[in-house]
């Protein structure tokens, strides 16, 4: 075979291969696809071997066979991966009963579970396990032992529920970890690992969230005007093809009919002559009321945190006083959103805009609460740090006494007797864990009482009640998607913040998400009814991801501030004895890495290098910004052209005069109008 023939044959073989790869995307009948596929495969098999003639044919055939096997392996692996996705069937069931927007909450929950599982793996494998396996056991050094004074009550249930006692001096919290530079035979550097895992948690979460946002943005695409195709879209895209349940389908029919009627009314109606001043006044009033309530809730939290500081000094606390802070925060989260909704009735917005305002306000509420809590907490921390300096002197004073008395080494003191300074990191960790646990409890109780008990009452009391409980008040609950999603987002924010001070928190969260999935799936199927207005989950996915990203940044700030500025407690935790937490990195660079790396880092930290790097990044951002603006402009131009062409065609067909003056002028010069429409001539 000549060279030219071989090249042509190779091309054909490549074409057939491409056909085989893309055949599933073509809209042909299965039979046709099968026939073409068989043909293509036979062709490829026949000629691929022939091409190898005289060029190490055996090797070529072997390569081809390996490629085939590799492709098959990849496909099997891909299938296996898809089959491994957990809870797929459960979520599909929920979807067919309740529509895709409720199911999108569960898909989000599953995604969160995956992320938390990875974070848990990191923390557990690199921080907790080494300390447990290779570090000193419980009771060997002061920081790992329950002090003598507390030992009697350390096993009490009430003390454990407060995360004091044995809980406080366990791997759950920061204070347990030892500050030895290396531990065990493997010379594992625990303090460094602790810091790196803390920072790596944020890095990984950031990467994951951004990657998911980018993926969603691709799918979301559609840049068309909102009002461009209202009726056409309503007609062709409003049915949710995943609905498989009769009740949901009925609701969907009703909501489609209502939405058509609304649009028809909108279309037919003229501008309402409304009192615009009254409307404006009402809106201003509503915003004022809401700002007041936001401010009020912030102040309430601050007040309660201050009170809890006073309580910390007393010993005779009732259950309410001990848990006041967590209760108030959870209650605010429950009570304020319906309050906002009621006030928003004053505003009289379109439902979609009203929903956006509502979500924004709930977000502001949670954010305000969280940050007030943080500020109050850090106030407390600062006081503790100041106190601990005094304690430090006391501590050294105590230890130096025996040494002065004799030349022998001081008698070994029982670790339970050593006076420990206040360990503020553990205290902060305990606060976060308590907050998370109370949040979990409140959520589960709300579902149990608000949904389950309500459903039971409505179902069984209906037989002997004057009005129809199922149709009127209270009837069965609907699943509150936005409330649940926001709760999930803020819970994750708390986990991110608290994970540095309490490594066990991530484990608690994993358990919580796992149980939440089963519990909420059951609750939704057993006690909820589909929404009256069944709507689809459209672009709102990226909205929630955006919220998550914002919360991630906001929870990064306190942790970074702590690492960079606050001095660690001097007798507990992996950084005890150092001036700042990140000194451990400096230490590692000095002692463990070869000398030239140290000099390299010191050069890199030179301001003369950092400032140009920052400038370069700013320039890059500016450049990318202007390119994207240019693309957007080009897009707009093309759209305008298309629109113009479309209008021209319409006008031409309907024989009305063109509105474009230039076109009008040129029309006389154009040939016979009744022919097929000519291409758009260049203006001017």
């Amino acid at each position: 075979m000549s060279e030219g023939e071989m090249a042509r044959l190779m091309e054909e073989v490549e074409e057939k291969k491409k056909l085989i790869a893309t055949i599933r995307n073509k809209p042909w009948r299965m039979k046709r696809r099968l026939v073409l596929l068989r043909e293509a495969q036979q062709f490829v098999d026949k000629f691929e071997g022939a091409l190898g003639k005289g060029k190490g044919r055996k090797w070529y055939a072997y390569k081809v066979m390996m490629t085939k096997k590799w492709i098959k392996f990849q496909r099997d692996f891909e299938n296996f991966r898809t089959a491994c996705i957990p809870w797929e069937r459960k979520i599909k069931e929920v979807e067919s009963h309740f529509g895709s927007s409720v199911a999108s909450y569960f898909i989000f929950l599953r995604w969160m579970y995956g992320m938390n599982l990875v974070l848990f793996g990191l923390t557990f494998g690199l921080v907790v396990m080494p300390e447990v396996l290779m570090g000193l056991p419980y009771g060997s050094i002061p920081r790992k032992t329950v002090p003598r004074a507390e030992q009697d009550t350390a096993q009490d249930y009430s003390v454990l529920m407060d995360f004091n006692g044995y809980c406080k001096y366990s791997v759950l919290f920061y204070g347990y970890y030892n500050n030895q530079r290396t531990i065990g035979l493997l010379k594992f550097r625990l303090p460094l690992a602790y810091l790196m895992v803390g920072l790596g948690t944020f890095g990984y979460s950031l990467m994951l969230v951004i990657r998911t946002m980018a993926k969603n943005a691709d799918v979301g695409g559609g840049d068309g005007d909102e009002g461009e195709f209202t009726f056409a879209w309503k007609m062709f895209t409003s049915w949710d093809y995943l609905i498989g349940n009769a009740e949901t389908a009925d609701n969907k029919y009703a909501s489609i009919t209502t939405s058509f009627k609304e649009s028809i009314v909108d279309e037919q109606e003229n501008q309402k002559d409304e009192n615009i001043h009254l409307r404006r006044f009402l809106r201003v009033l509503a915003n004022f009321l809401i700002t007041c309530s936001l401010g009020g809730s912030g102040y309430l939290i601050y007040f309660v945190v201050k009170r809890s500081q006073e309580f910390a000094n007393r010993d005779d606390l009732s259950w309410y006083e001990k848990n006041e802070l967590e209760l108030i925060m959870s209650l605010l989260g429950l009570v304020c959103p319906p309050l906002f909704e009621t006030i928003a009735e004053l505003e009289d917005y379109h439902p979609r805009i009203a929903l956006k305002w509502q979500l924004g306000r709930i977000f502001a509420l949670f954010l305000g609460n969280l940050y007030t809590f943080l500020f109050a907490l850090f106030d407390e921390v600062n006081t503790k740090v100041l106190n601990s300096i005094g304690r430090m002197f006391e501590y050294y004073a105590n230890f130096s006494l025996p040494v002065n008395d004799s030349d022998a080494t001081p008698p070994p003191m029982d670790p339970g007797d050593v006076i420990l300074g206040p360990c503020w990191e553990t205290a902060v960790g305990i606060e976060f864990v308590k907050l998370t646990v109370s949040d979990i409890q409140v959520t589960y109780l709300t579902i149990l009482i608000g949904d389950f008990a309500r459903a039971v009452i409505v179902r069984f009391l209906n037989y002997c009640w004057c009005w129809d409980l199922e149709a009127g008040f209270p009837s069965y609950g609907e699943f509150d998607i936005s409330g649940n999603v926001l709760g999930l987002v803020f819970n994750q924010g708390m986990i991110w913040m608290g994970a540095f001070y309490a490594p066990g928190l991530v484990g608690i969260n994993v358990l919580r998400l796992l149980s939440s999935m089963y519990y909420q799936c059951w609750a939704v199927m057993a006690t909820n009814v589909p929404h009256e207005r069944v709507f689809k989950a459209s672009k709102s996915n990226n909205f929630y991801m955006g919220l998550l990203l914002l919360v991630l940044f906001l929870s990064l700030l306190p942790v970074v501030y702590t690492i960079m500025s606050l001095p660690p407690s001097f007798d507990c935790g992996p950084f005890s004895g150092k001036e700042k937490m990140f000194d451990v990195i400096m230490e590692t660079i000095d002692l463990d890495l070869p000398a030239f790396m140290g000099t390299l880092f010191s050069y890199a930290a030179n301001p003369g290098l950092i400032i140009p790097a920052v400038l370069l990044m700013v320039l890059a951002i500016y450049y990318l910004n202007s390119t994207s603006e240019a693309y957007q402009n080009a897009n707009m131009e093309l759209k305008k052209k298309m629109q113009m062409a479309r209008d021209e065609e319409k006008n031409r067909r309907n024989n009305t005069d063109s509105t474009n003056q230039v076109m009008k002028d040129l029309e006389d010069l154009l040939p016979n109008r009744s022919l097929a429409p000519p291409a758009l001539p260049e203006p001017g």
Partner: protein, 178 residues
Amino acid sequence: MGNKQTTFTEEQLEAYQVMLESEEQRLHGRFRELAPHLVPLDYTNNPDVKVPLTLIVTMPELKENPFRERIVETFSEDGQGNLSFNDFVDMFSALCEASPRELKTIYAFKIYDFNRDNFICKEDMEKTLNKLTKGDLTAEEVALVCNKAIEEADLDGDSKLSFADFENMISKAPDFLR
């Protein structure tokens, strides 16, 4: 294939590249339970068996869909709604989440084109609308909606939607993936 009784040969499996063997078995199981007396257990000889429309629309996935008859008719070879196993597989692979947007657009157009003239004309739209709202809208409302829809989407001015018009309109819709 050894002693194991299999439903499909290896090549058939390769050809149905869309899915895994177990999924294929599952689909075959579903197909079979619609008409157990018609559909054989062993498909290695590619038997020519078709299940009629009336049985297929009883499937739970399709039962509540207002367009179920149109969907089945679109995927059947004879246009009457009798599906062979190949058509059955076609239908589910086109409707599944993994199938590409262009494919769905093409099939959606076919589904909504009731009289199969490759255009969505006013009568097609009226039928669509009535199926969607279960006849709750009055005749003038129906007429108004159809007119508005044609006005919005029709690009070439022939007061019906060709595939190009439909595709242009659908590609911008935010909700169209299912």
